[in-house]
């Protein structure tokens, strides 16, 4: 293994820039880190080079642990986006710099420099100053300079980002052929998907500090696991359908799958992806060799040279929720992106307004269903704090967010939602705002009837609204996050398994959420004085199993057992351990289906002013 990253983490002012990134890059591989700006990809690259210190994790280069080795001794070649050539040195001096530092003899230096100039196609330009050559040429010099001392790994930070399109294509090919020729293990960072696909043996997609998926380009494109990767790479038709025994169902149409992902093991909803080129159009339904989504109307056609892109409008289907392309505000039709070759377009010419039958050649279900958050706000400062926290956690967890506003006149509500959307909009996978007229409970009830949520985030003071909280918990299978004061996304979560009451399910969902936000967790069990030894060892075993599960999920976890009065012990632990989120299981529903918080939770809610996650303990939770 040339490059091994394990659990790299970096924070700037408590903001997670790189979140638990692990990666193996094999010898001679061309690896591309792909992500939008701010995704943390450049920080990862700089950590490998030793230019940015890391907070946690380890870096191995060719088996050597270089985590604490200074940049000078890491034997890496680094190419910067803006070339970073030494302006007062000639091209030749620039290339020879690394060799001079290593005290290589002049004759040998010259030979190596001429070799490199030839390699990057700049023979004869050694005497020029950087200011006398073009941007593309400067980047070639930077590449030669980075290769001169025969580095063990080559790191390229958006090397083509500052160049214009034509030069970029040219240099891309040069880069590929040089890397092939030298066989040097390479990591390139880019936001350009086309570049990534053309250059990479494997691509890793980063978003908000996390390395979401890694794989060969064609695999990531055709069989992504996450919603982000599915929509980030290329154009995607993504919608939520239903799992079936043979495959998936979209509306009334069944698609059988050759391979059924292991994660699909029931009758749950599932995100289904098909690419524009998988859409087949036909004038008659009988002619379609593939399952048909029905008849749609052409909304738009775009001529794109060798092919044609179309956007089609389909009537809404019961039980199907489109994700991408996004539904227009106020619209109820489902949009589908399609693509046809010129021959296909010539055989069946289509204009906007024409109707055509739509078949789908191949669908791909995503492994991870993706979380769905409902943020509820009346615009009060408390609610606003909760919305901010929920938005931040959604961003880290790549959850889809619906922001439901209530309790204000329509016009004020619209303004509030607009500004809240602006505030949160950046970086959220999906954000929808809805205005509800009337009271809180009916509004939530209406909303969750439309689509199930995994988590509802509320900014209510639990002391005053205990009934409301109870009723919201009863409405569905969702979990509940209560926050009434401004707080950052949690870094340390205290998961209470007091009284052995909440079970493994709690630990699982809490673990998943905690992993997404990059926090660590402590499993706490509080025992009453005078418990038997048998009980104690049972608790220990339960906690140990929980810690194992959490670690498996990638959450740094530990167990703690305390004795004493439950309420005070939890409160003390929360404060002394500096935890910023409390996780508790909701009591099981009573026989009449009511959930009463009148026990421990209400006592704790009364004294603690930190975000509290209340987990529904019920078989068949929306998540699994």
């Amino acid at each position: 293994m040339s490059i091994t990253l394990s659990n790299l983490t970096k924070r700037y002012n408590n903001h997670l820039v790189v979140n638990n990134v692990s990666l193996d890059v094999t010898d001679g591989e061309f690896f591309v880190l792909l992500g939008s700006s701010g995704s943390g990809k450049t920080t990862v690259l700089k950590m490998i080079a030793g230019l940015t210190p890391l907070d946690e994790g380890r870096i191995l280069l060719h088996g050597r642990d270089v985590t604490a080795v200074p940049v000078q001794q890491r034997q890496v070649g680094f190419v910067f986006q803006h070339y970073a050539l030494f302006q007062h040195m000639t091209v030749a001096q620039n290339i020879e710099f690394g060799l001079r530092i290593r005290k290589v003899a002049a004759a040998q230096r010259r030979r190596r420099r001429d070799e490199l100039l030839e390699l990057v196609g700049l023979t004869g330009l050694g005497g020029r100053m950087p200011s006398q050559i073009s941007g593309g040429q400067q980047q070639r010099v930077a590449l030669a300079r980075a290769l001169a001392h025969q580095p063990e790994v080559l790191l390229l930070d958006e090397p083509l980002g500052a160049l214009d399109a034509k030069i970029r294509l040219e240099l891309r090919r040069t880069l590929r052929s040089i890397q092939r020729e030298l066989g040097v293990t390479t990591i390139l960072v880019t936001h350009d998907q086309e570049e990534a696909f053309e250059l990479a043996d494997r691509v890793g997609v980063m978003s908000f500090g996390r390395l979401l998926e890694v794989g060969p380009p064609q695999h990531l494109y055709s069989a992504p696991q996450t919603e982000f990767v599915a929509t980030f790479l290329g154009t995607a038709n993504l919608l939520v359908g239903q799992q079936t025994a043979e495959g998936v169902r979209i509306g009334q149409v069944d698609f059988s799958l050759a391979e059924r992902p292991s994660s699909m093991n029931g009758n749950h909803r599932v995100q289904v992806l098909f690419r524009p080129e998988d859409v087949v159009l036909s004038a008659r339904a009988e002619d379609l060799p593939y399952p048909s989504l029905g008849q749609g109307e052409v909304a738009e056609t775009i001529f794109a040279g060798s092919f044609e892109r179309l956007r089609l409008r389909l009537p809404p289907m019961p039980g199907v929720r489109p994700i991408s392309p996004p539904v227009k505000y106020g619209g109820d039709a489902m949009m589908v992106e399609a693509m046809r070759s010129r021959e296909q377009a010539a055989a069946l010419p289509l204009q906007p307004g024409d109707r055509t039958w739509l078949g789908v050649r191949r669908v791909h279900p995503l492994d991870h269903p993706g979380l769905n958050f409902l943020l509820v706000s009346d615009g009060s400062p408390q609610a606003d704090a909760a919305v901010k926290l929920g938005g931040q956690m959604a961003r880290l967890a790549h959850a889809r967010v619906t922001l439901l506003g209530y309790g204000q006149p329509q016009s004020g509500l619209d303004d509030y939602l607009r500004s809240a959307k602006k505030m949160m909009g950046n970086g959220l996978t999906g954000l929808e705002t809805k205005a509800a007229s009337g009271a809180l409970l009916p509004a939530i009830a209406r909303e969750i009837n439309g689509q199930p949520y995994d988590l509802i985030v509320l900014g209510l003071d639990p002391n005053e609204h205990m009934d409301t909280v109870e009723q919201i918990l009863q409405m569905g299978d969702h979990h509940l996050l209560l926050a009434s004061r401004p707080s950052a996304a949690p870094a340390r979560a205290l998961i209470c398994v007091a009284d052995g009451e909440p079970a493994k399910e709690d630990v699982l969902f809490a673990g998943r959420l905690v992993r997404h936000v990059g926090a660590e967790a402590t499993l706490l069990s509080v025992m009453k004085d005078g418990e038997t030894e048998a009980t104690q060892s049972q608790v220990d075993r339960f906690l140990a199993a929980g810690v194992r599960t959490l670690e498996l999920l990638g959450v740094p976890a530990r167990a703690a057992v305390r004795k004493g009065a439950v309420r005070e012990t939890i409160a003390n632990e929360l404060i002394s351990g500096n935890y910023d989120m409390l996780v508790m299981g909701a009591p099981l529903p009573q026989r009449d289906g009511k959930i009463s918080l009148n026990g421990l939770i209400s006592q704790i809610l009364g004294i603690i002013h930190r975000p509290i996650l209340i987990i529904r303990t019920e078989p068949g939770s929306a998540l699994h």
Partner: protein, 283 residues
């Protein structure tokens, strides 16, 4: 169409007329303020011809004053360039408590009357004062009423010039060149010497030349710190003052012409260097 274009050209004419009168006013102002005095002193100093000019300058007292001025300024420039560059480096690259205050203090010498500077130095280093007496007795160094005092005064006065020339360039300097050098194996000192310093060569030079030009004409601080001892601590500016006092206008004018010539040459050089700097930093 025609009507509109005629009013348009009328407007243009009015602007052009305004521009021209503004230009004339500025030129007249410059002439009265700068050029005419320069011409007058040139005529005054050369009224006995080039030979007379040379006789005045080459007499021992004048010559010594000129040489003293040049060498003390030269020593000051070397120290000031090194220390000023380091100060700028620390101010730009390091974070420490009181940095903002220090940054403000750098400009203080520009605001303090140079006479006051002289007085401060005399109080600190004068032979009767604690520090001055100690230096005199233990090390045998006499600073006040001696050439080292001149250097000290000049260092104080010109301190901001190098700092303020280097600082903005250092601030805009592309750190990536330094990072690139580090990835290529260069250690911090090598990076400073081979990457950072060459990029600062131009601002350092222009700061140094400005300090030199400023030092040539210094009077107030020097007369307090070094006194007016011919053939020992009398600098060119102090010499001019003495000649004026003794109503020897030719001597005063001749020395003034030399000082003017040096200053003008340096200013033109600095101007040229700064233009080059701008060209280089342009993308």
């Amino acid at each position: 169409m025609t009507a509109r274009s005629s009013t348009h050209s009328l407007g243009l004419n009015r602007v052009a007329w305004g521009r021209q009168s503004l230009r004339a006013a500025v030129l007249a102002y410059l002439a009265v303020l700068l050029i005419i005095p320069l011409l007058v002193i040139l005529r005054d100093g050369l009224q006995e011809g080039l030979l007379g000019f040379w006789r005045t300058i080459s007499q021992p007292v004048a010559w010594h004053a000129l040489m003293l001025t040049l060498w003390t300024a030269a020593v000051m420039v070397v120290i000031n360039t090194v220390m000023g560059t380091l100060t700028a480096y620390v101010l730009v690259r390091y974070e420490f408590a009181g940095k903002a205050l220090l940054n403000a203090i750098v400009d203080l010498p520009l605001a303090i009357p140079t006479l006051v500077t002289g007085v401060m130095l005399v109080i600190l280093y004068g032979p009767q004062k604690a520090l001055g007496a100690w230096l005199d007795q233990t090390l045998g160094w006499r600073l006040i009423f001696a050439p080292p005092g001149i250097i000290l005064a000049l260092l104080f006065i010109t301190f901001p010039l190098v700092v303020r020339a280097v600082q903005p360039v250092l601030l805009n300097l592309d750190r990536e060149q330094e990072y690139a050098a580090a990835t290529l194996g260069a250690r911090p000192w090598t990076i400073f010497r081979r990457v950072t310093l060459p990029a600062l060569a131009l601002p350092m030079t222009s700061g140094a030349l400005l300090s030199f030009a400023r030092a040539i004409g210094e009077f107030g601080a020097i007369i307090i710190v070094a006194g007016n001892i011919p053939l020992y601590t009398q600098t060119a500016a102090v010499f001019v003052f003495g000649e004026v006092e003794s109503e020897n206008r030719a001597g005063a004018s001749a020395m003034s012409i030399v000082m003017l010539g040096i200053a003008l040459g340096l200013i033109l050089l600095v101007d040229w260097l700064q233009q080059r700097q701008e060209r280089e930093t342009m993308p």
